[in-house]
Symmetry: C2
Subunit: 339 residues, 2 copies
DNA sequence: ACCAGCACTCTCGCCAACCGAGTGCCAATC
DNA sequence: GATTGGCACTCGGTTGGCGAGAGTGCTGGT
């Protein structure tokens, strides 16, 4: 009873089940894969795999299906990388490069993932906190109100209103703008505080409150976690016949609407080194217990991770294909990102 | 056989069916509503209503359910407006007023609609074309690239990169910015072309290409239909037990992902005067044949309609409640909108 | 270590029978 | 003429039984 063949059997079970979405029995297994042994032998192997908690049978007289643990082993040790075809790569590249602004880039990335994987895509906008500041603009509106506009080097534009007590003249405003911009140039939003503090110091006393207020809006309000944004694409894929969840779609859709929790989950599971996979009950969210999540960070052209993109589908998914798609899109996305 | 009672019967059928989601028969009808007649009489009325195409029976020996036409008549003539409760109104008001920026306003409006109606909410961002221009900003980035930032009086901020052939000095840039801003002040993006043309004329020859390019970016790129954006909320509501569609969720979810077509549908059905309802097959999109759409325009504080908000649910929905919710949110939204 | 055979289990699909809800119609009544 | 009680009829949904098929575990032989 070679250990090696047992894993072959597991691989065969996973591949067959993913393809046919039906529990797979010993006979079928020997027919469709060259295992070189008889069904009876396979049955022994399957008994061992079940003992090890890698597969299970839904009913007494049905075939076996992989457990979460089985998928995990498959992903970690058995799955062969299956790179995308050249036409696919080209399609990704051109489709992304046709984007006209950041919203468009994010939307297109989502559509790509959704279409390539046939699952739900989640794309996070470049995190403000981890982006660099490209430009800061101060626009006076009605009396006493100032509009602060922040443009990051990843292309995000955010704005906040600011009530300022003192009257504003264009001169000081222009000066403040210039100083803040030169102080902040290229820095990340998250560690821009010190630079701003120095600028505030250097301002004449009567304008210090203004400078402080602006600095605070930028560092605090825009650096908040609540400013993170994500976009979902391809939810219709959830309803395709190929995805029948035991518990129905409801918990899944509900989980996807919990954007804050969802983003936390994605953030936690993503390490800087490539694609991460979380399977079934490994997911912290109960609603995603029947799904697997494949994520990757993506970054600006210089390689830093500024946000996350991922694909969510049933645990019974095509892992090699999904991983390849997520990785590819993340890579091209980093290349295309403005800046 | 009074015409009036026949309509009472229709109303009773609609109300009962909406509540219980089960075909309603003559006996139940007389038990649950004070119609003052016997089941047999009701049967006669029902036969007439069926003849008129207002109700139908799913199976030979089941009760009746309203047809699209029946719902239409109900909405147009039978439904009594049911205003929201005071606490509900207060909740809407405070929840919306706590929003921190436009994204937040739109997100909150969606969540309100989704929660109040238990259906899917669609909220369109204030249309760029129908918004006024608050401020135009020109930011030079790397050599030969100019970032054009447009801020509308509804709070939207959009940006475009522009490749400019000539070198830029801060002086001309500042002048151009000042002129364009004063020319455009308060105008709607859609009819800003003329004003810009005059500015372009007045510029010295060597800067005309620049001015023209900027003007074109603003009027063309930002005025495009593709720049309209919508946000969906509450898709999980679709999966609630209370919404079992004959054809399944799939076509509905797919329709909701066709954002361009969907927005077109909403735009077409919305007239300026209040809430509009489109029922079942009246909807142009096949995927929405089993759903009804309730929409209303909303506007900036001065009353113009700048965008649309709506609620989408099964034809078997609580029309009075949905209409009240959509109208209320649209109203408060207009009040809260920046500007 | 592998494998053929066998008894056993359980799901699924099918069919027949039955029950109940609801209808349409008709004759009687107000 | 509208309303009503009565009655025969239709049909969907449910129940129970039955057989077929798929798959397993086990045992004994090679």
């Amino acid at each position: 009873m070679s250990e090696e063949r047992r894993l072959d059997v597991l691989r065969a079970i996973v591949e067959d089940y993913v393809r046919t979405r039906e529990p797979v029995g010993s006979r079928i297994l020997t027919e469709r894969h060259q295992l070189g042994v008889s069904p009876a032998t396979v049955r022994n192997d399957m008994a061992a795999l079940e003992e090890a908690g890698l597969i299970a049978q839904p009913h007494t007289s049905a075939g076996r299906i992989p457990t979460d643990k089985g998928y995990r082993l498959f992903v970690d040790q058995l799955a062969e990388v299956r790179p995308l075809t050249l036409p696919q790569k080209r399609a990704i590249e051109t489709f992304l490069s046709e984007a006209v602004d950041l919203d468009d880039v994010v939307a297109r990335a989502g559509r790509l993932i959704a279409q390539l994987t046939g699952q739900v895509a989640v794309v996070q906008y470049p995190s403000l906190r981890r982006s660099g500041l490209r430009h800061l603009e101060l626009v006076p509106t009605v009396e006493g109100r100032l509009l602060v506009v922040v443009i990051t080097d990843t292309g995000r534009v955010e704005q906040r209103f600011l009530d300022v007590p003192v009257d504003l003249d264009d001169g000081t405003l222009g000066e403040l703008r210039a100083r803040l911009n030169s102080a902040a140039a290229g820095r990340r939003l998250i560690d821009i505080g010190d630079a701003f503090a120095r600028v505030t110091e250097a301002m004449p006393d009567e304008h210090k409150p203004l400078a402080t207020a602006v600095a605070e809006v930028v560092t605090t309000a825009l650096g908040e976690e609540s400013e993170e944004r994500i976009v979902l694409t391809g939810q219709a894929n959830l309803a395709r016949a190929s995805m029948r969840f035991e518990q129905g779609l409801r918990p899944v859709l509900e989980a996807l609407e919990e954007q804050v929790v969802l983003l936390g989950l994605l953030t936690d599971m993503t390490d800087d080194a490539g694609v991460a996979v979380s399977i079934g009950h490994e997911n912290r969210m109960a609603g995603l217990a029947e799904t697997s999540v494949v994520t990757s960070g993506y970054g600006s052209s210089d390689g830093d991770t500024v946000a996350i993109l991922s694909s969510i589908g049933p645990t019974r998914m095509d892992y090699p294909g999904t991983i390849a798609a997520v990785r590819a899109v993340a890579r091209y996305l980093s290349r295309v990102l403005p800046g």
